[in-house]
Amino acid sequence: MANLLEVQNATKRFGSFTALHDVSIQVPRGSIFGLLGPNGAGKTTLIRIINQITLPDQGSVYLDNELLKKEHIKDIGYLPEERGLYKSMKVGEQALYLAQLKGLSKREAKERLTYWFDKFDITHWWNKKIQELSKGMAQKVQFIVTVLHRPKLLIFDEPFSGFDPINANVIKDEILQLRDEGATVIFSTHRMESVEELCDHIALINKSKKILEGKVSDIKRAYKSNTFEVGLRTENSNDLYNDLKNKFDVSPAHFKTIDEQLKLKITLNQNTESNQLLGYLSDKAQVMRFNEVIPGVNEIFIKSITENE
């Protein structure tokens, strides 16, 4: 099967509060999967279920076509949103301990740690205590611990919060490389635009329910409205505007230009091709800008929520 992870109809209640309602997701092998939704939507609960931290009240989880079981712990690497390490324990000891808890032997763990510490050029941190390191430094150690046991599935909850742009890039590159080496990655975040470019699949969760899931390109295709953003240079912008308004569905657009332009968003009906519009426009004015408006995940999210309600 092409999916590494499948969650089927997972429901979790805490008392009278339903944290997750009948949620199913399918994470294709080797993909980068974005689990998106606002704060409190149920993302973390879902991740905890995948990590076997909490058990679902209903539903089941399959990893690699097998019902989730204890042995799968070593196949998953999880970087929680709330990150921390033992403050008064030395970096090296701590990393060794956490790696051994994931089932690595001490020797193995040490070899791999040496590799990663070398790679990040942090070998001299080995005997330091976490309390001597900055937050960003500690996050690097946490990242190493998350990926050290070479899990099939990597789960990052709010992956880039707390990293400065440079380190965020370093981490991003490492994650992409791990993906290329065969790992499947789940990003969970409420800052949807931050992972938009990385993900090839997404699921949107709102108020404990999944409202959308699929390939990013498919979703965008489904949500685009045949709208084009145009910038026109013309002597007589008022006349042109009135003319266009009579023929098309027009609304003002906002983007930056260096000279005076008529900026519009033009939505075409299903039967009209973009070339027809372009031809019409080029007769009337100088076309400086012409591109299709592709909705961002944020817009899709807002739209799909309003559609659902």
Binding site: F14, G15, R48, N51, Q52, I53, I73, I76, Y78, L79, P80, E82, R83, G84, L85, Y86, K87, S88, M89, Y97, L98, Q100, L101, K102, K106, Q142, V145
Partner: protein
Amino acid sequence: MSNLKLIIKREFIARVRNRTFVVMTFLSPLIFVGMISLITWLATLNNDEIREIAFFDETGMFASDFKNSDNINYIDYSNLPLNDAKDSVIIKSLYGLLYIPKKESNRELAKSVQFYADEAPNISILNDIENVIEGKLTNQNFESKGLDLQMIEDSKAKVNILIENFSGEKTSKMTNYIKMFFGGAAGYFLMMFIIIYGNMVMRSVIEEKANRIIEIIISSVKPLQLMMGKILGTSFAGILQFIIWVILGSILLFVATSIFGVNPQPAAGIDPSSVLQEDLQQEVQLVLQDILKLPLGTLVLAFFVYFIGGYFLYSSIYAAIGAAVDSETDSQQFMLPIILPLMLGIYVGFFSVIENPHGTVSTVFSMIPLTSPIVMLMRIPFGVSWWEVLISILLLFGSIIFMIWLAGKIYRVGILMYGKKPSYKELFKWLKY
């Protein structure tokens, strides 16, 4: 290595490496010995003071009876006028002036002896003086009635009741005190251990929660496993500390006895006639015999069983509390269910058990799991039938399993809850999650 072993090892090392642990382990015996030495020294310091007491004896009968002792010097002011005597006592700042007026009869004299002093005089000194005067007057009364003092002395009988049990073994009158001491010490020690090490477990849980490492850990191990690892690892640290204390204590005791030259076998020939000395020696031997006759094996065994049981019972509660709160200050509101039964155990032990070791109160509290470790330990030196101990232990271990299950449920939910202080009601809800 299995995860439980890894956790135990980490917890153990984290506890043992802690600076407070090291300091406490090595300093406590020193502080303890130091305190004892200080108290002993202060006590001898007090006794070394020699008090000078003047006496003004109008009768002229007692001068030879006031003999200087180790801490009292008597000065005879009978030749001075009374006022001069008073003045010079004040000027020389003597301890006091004893005034024995001349009276018609001994009966009146006995009522009119006075002691002048600025401070309230020491009771034991007054007792000594009273004894001297009383003895003298009694003897005079005997003589005036024509009784022979020697005959009276010879006809005095001295009775010392020997206590034996029905199997014919002699015991000393100290037996009950010894039993109390051993039981009390064991119970008290147990309580201290539970509080100190239970708190350590709780702090360690809170630390993981506050550090936010908890979610990383429990994505690798089961919460119950983590909790048990914590409790076990911490208890091993406690046992290590205990062993070090015992070793250090024995060394210090050995050093102390060889320095102060305490010799358990008094040299032969010294004061052979002193009956008092002989009695005392016999008493000491009986006390030693009594200690050896205590069910020491049972006591040690019971100590370990109740120690382990009590520790597990309470530390699982401590772990649950640690999981429920965000910081140590928040934990105060949940301390009552721990401190209350512990204090109850100690009070029942010290009041009820000593009064009546096998009474209803003592028996009931030595069965209730939360108090049984302390109360039963205090009862055991008085002899408890094996089936009572068995029931108590079974109840204890049964409730440990229940408590660990309960604490595990609260722990599992609590470690992932941040932000709000839960109420008891909410804790109860967590059990159902």
